[in-house]
């Protein structure tokens, strides 16, 4: 369903039913410094509309639309963060909820961890190639286990499904208290046609995919809230269908193996100050792309609308043709309203 159709549907629902509408939004200005010098950009400005259509005794549909209003982030990478537009149709207590529209693929940490608006990100761009995808699915909770199933186009946000390929993503994630730690363990599987970039072409990701290949992924993720410490871990293994870039010696029956990982730890020294470190990598037959991040987040007391994030990040890309390293320092203000 397109965002336009969903918004029009919502407008009609607002006009005829007992519907409540909430508006919100966020701005993400940032300063970046690297070997080339410094820059200031408004990375993104977004508007959010949440509408709720309720009957006499229960919610019938909840819809959310996230619109990118402005910002320097453009091209394919903009679609990682802006463009959610979906409706949730709960079937009843203890029953699944149907989700339809353009939403986050529920693979690994992406299912629960909203990385949009964060400087330090999980390596979904490299391991999957997209974050938002139009589709249809179900989600719910059985006991203490969260489950999600999502069938989507695999072409990315705001795209027609002209290749007729689909992606199936499934995740189950039990959550439990282990002593003073709140633990979530997730097991995810994904298969389907998804955008592909060789490691050498990653710097051109903003231009959008030039190739779609069959990808198979299996992921294990872990979120631990242990007092002021939050740890997030993700491991992804899989195979990509062979392309012209694939080293022949690594391919098996037309596919090549890949793997990725992410580890993050953040610790609240006090309610308003939180240092964090993260490390991620993605390895293919060509080589590897890795990022080391160290950040400091500041949450002004009693002003939940503001957040200041700072991060130092060092990227390395190692392939047969490139051995590249770069670094940057970013300070980003998140203003939510």
């Amino acid at each position: 369903m397109s965002r336009s159709a969903l918004v029009l549907f919502l407008a009609a629902a607002v006009a005829v039913a007992g519907t409540s509408v909430r508006l919100g939004g966020a701005l993400y200005p940032r300063i970046m410094y690297d070997a080339m010098g410094s820059s200031f950009e408004l990375m993104g400005a977004e508007g959010n509309i949440e509408a709720q259509v309720s009957g006499e005794t229960r919610d019938i549909v909840t819809a959310l639309i996230q619109v990118r209003a402005a910002g320097a982030m453009s091209g394919w990478t903009s679609g990682f963060h802006f463009g959610q537009a979906y409706a949730l149709l709960p079937l009843g207590l203890s029953l699944p909820t149907i989700k339809v529209g353009q939403a986050v693929i529920p693979f690994g940490l992406l299912a629960d961890y909203d990385i949009h608006g964060q400087i330090i990100q999980t390596p979904f761009a490299k391991t999957l190639g997209l974050r938002l995808d139009p589709g249809l699915g179900v989600l719910g909770v059985l006991g203490q286990t969260d489950y999600r199933l999502w069938l989507s186009n695999g072409n990315g946000p705001d795209m027609m499904d002209n290749d007729r390929g689909k992606v199936v993503t499934a995740r189950v994630a039990p959550r439990f208290l282990l002593g003073d730690a709140d633990v979530t363990l997730g097991l995810s599987g994904l298969a389907g046609s998804l955008p592909y970039w060789s490691l050498d072409s990653l710097p051109k990701m903003i231009e959008g995919p030039r190739l779609y290949v069959s990808k198979y992924r299996l992921g294990l993720d872990n979120n631990v809230d242990w007092g002021p410490l939050i740890m997030r871990l993700e491991g992804v293994v899989g195979r990509d269908s062979k392309t012209g870039d694939s080293p022949p010696e690594r391919s098996t029956r037309g596919t090549v193996p890949v793997f990725g990982y992410y580890g993050e730890a953040r610790y609240a020294l006090v309610r308003w100050l939180e240092p964090m470190v993260a490390y991620d990598g993605f390895h293919t037959g060509e080589g590897s792309a890795r990022t080391l991040s160290a950040g400091l987040n500041f949450y002004p007391p009693d002003i939940s609308a503001l957040e200041v994030q700072t991060a130092f990040q060092r990227n390395s890309l190692n392939t047969a043709t490139q051995n590249m390293e770069d670094w940057h320092v970013i300070a980003q203000l998140a203003v939510r309203f």
């Binding site: 397109s2 965002r3 336009s4 918004v7 029009l8 919502l10 407008a11 607002v14 409540s20 509408v21 909430r22 508006l23 919100g24 949440e50 709720q52 309720s54 009957g55 005794t57 229960r58 919610d59 909840t62 619109v67 207590l93 909770v141 072409n155 795209m159 002209n162 290749d163 007729r164 390929g165 689909k166 992606v167 199936v168 208290l177 003073d180 730690a181 709140d182 298969a191 389907g192 046609s193 592909y196 030039r210 190739l211 779609y212 290949v213 069959s214 809230d225 007092g227 002021p228 269908s241 392309t243 037309g254 609240a268 006090v270 309610r271 009693d302 002003i303 939940s304 609308a305 939510r336």
Partner: protein
């Protein structure tokens, strides 16, 4: 169509570039304007109710719920702040309530709030029912927190103290609430304050 074609498409294996098109944004802008013109107040920062199924089953046995948004007027805000003894946050202009039903009968109301813990937000869910002299708490649960005494804060011994408390109770640790564990006084008070705040605001908004 084969399962393989359904999943991967006919050209995924060959690596050809699919033709893709972007939707035009004009109709989206018109639709947005239409929704904006019909919309009410701007949204405040509201705490998500993360596990409604588990909470309703655990607290009320069974039932259904719906979402109700309630804006707070200046007059209501002033009265609520007088009763609370501290100001609401600047972005608390709207509150969200979840009336719970069994059949068509309303049996209670659930609400959620992010209290201010020692190391971050403590997300609490409070379920209230009608009492003889106003709403009383049926149960308090913690959704998420970053406190060191996580297990003690979520224990029945601590959270069970809130059952039956109403608008005239003080919700003060050391008075009518015992700390979850020694050293967790601030976190315990944050939970108690959040519960009282939800109760007072709920009453101040006319028990929506």
């Amino acid at each position: 169509m084969s399962l393989r074609n359904l999943l991967f498409g006919s050209n995924a294996k060959t690596g050809t570039v699919p033709r893709v098109e972007r939707f035009e944004g004009l109709s989206l802008i018109f639709a947005l304007l239409l929704v904006l013109s019909l919309a009410g107040t701007a949204a405040a920062s509201l705490c998500v109710w993360r596990q409604p199924d588990a909470d309703i089953s655990g607290i009320f046995g069974s039932g259904s719920y719906k979402t109700v948004f309630a804006d707070i007027t200046d007059a209501q805000k002033q009265k609520v702040e007088e009763r609370l003894g501290f100001p609401l946050d600047a972005d608390e202009t709207q509150f969200k309530y979840f009336p719970v039903f069994k059949g068509k009968q309303r049996v209670g109301t659930a609400m959620s709030h992010a209290g201010k813990g020692q190391f971050g937000a403590i997300e609490v869910v409070v379920a209230v029912v009608a009492g003889d002299s106003g709403p009383v708490i049926k149960e308090v649960r913690i959704q998420r927190d970053r406190e060191k005494a996580k297990a003690a804060l979520r224990s029945k011994d601590f959270l069970g103290q809130f059952k039956g408390k109403g608008l005239t109770d003080t919700f003060m640790v050391g008075e009518d609430i015992e700390t979850a564990v020694k050293g967790a006084e601030k976190a315990s008070q944050a939970v108690a304050t959040a519960a009282r705040k939800l109760l007072v605001v709920y009453d101040g908004l006319g028990r929506p």
